[in-house]
């Protein structure tokens, strides 16, 4: 064995097998410098072990146990919630969303029916009577789109049309402009 190979073996002396140990021992017997290194390393090893052999203990074991168990219980609840509550919650959520969807559809249909009723309140005949200059189809469309109580510069659309007997009247012009916009 050469000195440069001996260094690793010296530091790993406790891990050497019998054959490796014999080889090193033979080298140390004939090499004073490696022997000195070996002795120093053994002394340091003892020093380290004696310095750090004492096991640190928790200052308050009971508190530490409580802290650990609190953490475990908290984790258990979290895991339970994650693993079990969600699969239970998802079907409920699905049913709730289905109910909400049905309600929305019903509300939409109801709204449509109300719109038709309101449109029907101002019949084509009435329209022709009150505002012969306006296209009745256009008016119906505006009501369906904007609702029956759309304000045009103050008065409602219906009032606007009813009062619009003179096309040169500024109020009537506003009404016509609005109708054009809707178109």
């Amino acid at each position: 064995m050469k000195c440069r190979n001996a260094e690793r073996a010296i530091y790993l002396y406790p891990e050497l097998n019998d054959r490796e140990r014999t080889v090193l021992d033979n080298h140390l017997a004939g090499c004073a410098s490696c022997r000195a290194v070996f002795d120093r390393v053994q002394r340091e090893r003892n020093l380290i072990f004696s310095s750090l052999r004492v096991r640190e203990v928790p200052d308050n074991e009971s508190d530490l146990t409580d802290r650990i168990m609190n953490g475990v219980m908290l984790d258990r609840r979290t895991v339970t919630t994650t693993r079990h509550a969600w699969p239970g919650l998802i079907p409920s959520l699905r049913w709730s969303m289905a109910v909400v969807s049905v309600v929305l559809v019903i509300m939409f249909i109801a709204e449509q029916r109300v719109g038709i009723t309101q449109t029907a309140e101002v019949s084509v005949t009435e329209l022709d009577t009150y505002a012969p200059r306006l296209n009745s189809t256009l008016f119906l469309k505006s009501l369906t789109t904007a609702g029956s109580e759309v304000a045009v510069n103050g008065p409602s659309l219906k009032d606007c049309i009813i009062n619009c007997t003179d096309p040169s009247d500024p109020a009537c012009l506003d009404c016509l402009t609005y109708m054009k916009k809707l178109n």
Binding site: V41, F49, L52, V54, R55, E56, P58, E61, V72, D75
Partner: protein, 194 residues
């Protein structure tokens, strides 16, 4: 009354018996804490690691293999948690300033107490200068006195790599102790003379 085996306590804990798990905690927490302290060198961090280790144990209790010792499993959990902490905060934690040990079981004289306390602090500080892997190998092999095969299993490293890290760790410690004594020897001699 005969103490229940870890296996029995685990079986009961698996059935939802928290008290059985508490008994397991009480039985092993000191060992877990002291191992964590040796690895991270800081009491607060050691407590955090101890708590996290038992939470992980609780979560994975159903994967416990009764053929293995519970302590082996705990060694693995604590070492991995400590390594993560050392790697993620190498400059922040106790690397530069490890806490001194309080307990001194053998006190001959006040001077000896001083020397022992100082040595303990100094050696702890030196150990904190090792890389996380070297420190883990050093603590498990030289302080916990586990076999190379056990360390290899805990760290999931080959025995060859364990030995390489062990060699580097011991050599580094040796160099640090040597330089410390070169500076400190006159002072130590003076304390011993008094």
């Amino acid at each position: 009354m005969t103490a229940e085996t870890d296996r029995k306590l685990i079986d009961r804990a698996l059935q939802g018996n928290a008290l059985s798990f508490r008994h397991l905690v009480e039985r092993h927490q000191s060992f877990v804490y002291s191992l964590a302290f040796r690895l991270v060198g800081n009491r607060d961090d050691a407590k955090d690691i101890t708590q996290e280790a038992f939470i992980r144990l609780w979560r994975n209790l159903n994967r416990y293999n009764p053929d293995n010792k519970l302590t082996t499993w705990l060694y693995r959990i604590v070492t991995n948690l400590s390594l993560d902490m050392l790697k993620s905060a190498r400059n922040k934690y106790s690397i530069r300033n490890p806490e001194a040990h309080d307990d001194v079981p053998v006190r001959h004289t006040a001077d000896q107490y001083l020397i022992e306390t100082e040595l303990r602090t100094v050696v702890s500080m030196m150990a904190s200068l090792l890389t996380p892997k070297q420190k883990a190998v050093f603590v498990l092999r030289d302080l916990e006195e586990l076999t190379v095969d056990e360390v290899s299993e805990i760290l999931s490293m080959s025995p060859g790599k364990i030995k390489s890290n062990l060699f580097l760790a011991r050599k580094r410690m040796s160099e640090l102790i040597k330089s410390y004594y070169e500076i400190k020897k006159p002072v130590t001699d003076e304390v011993q003379k008094r």
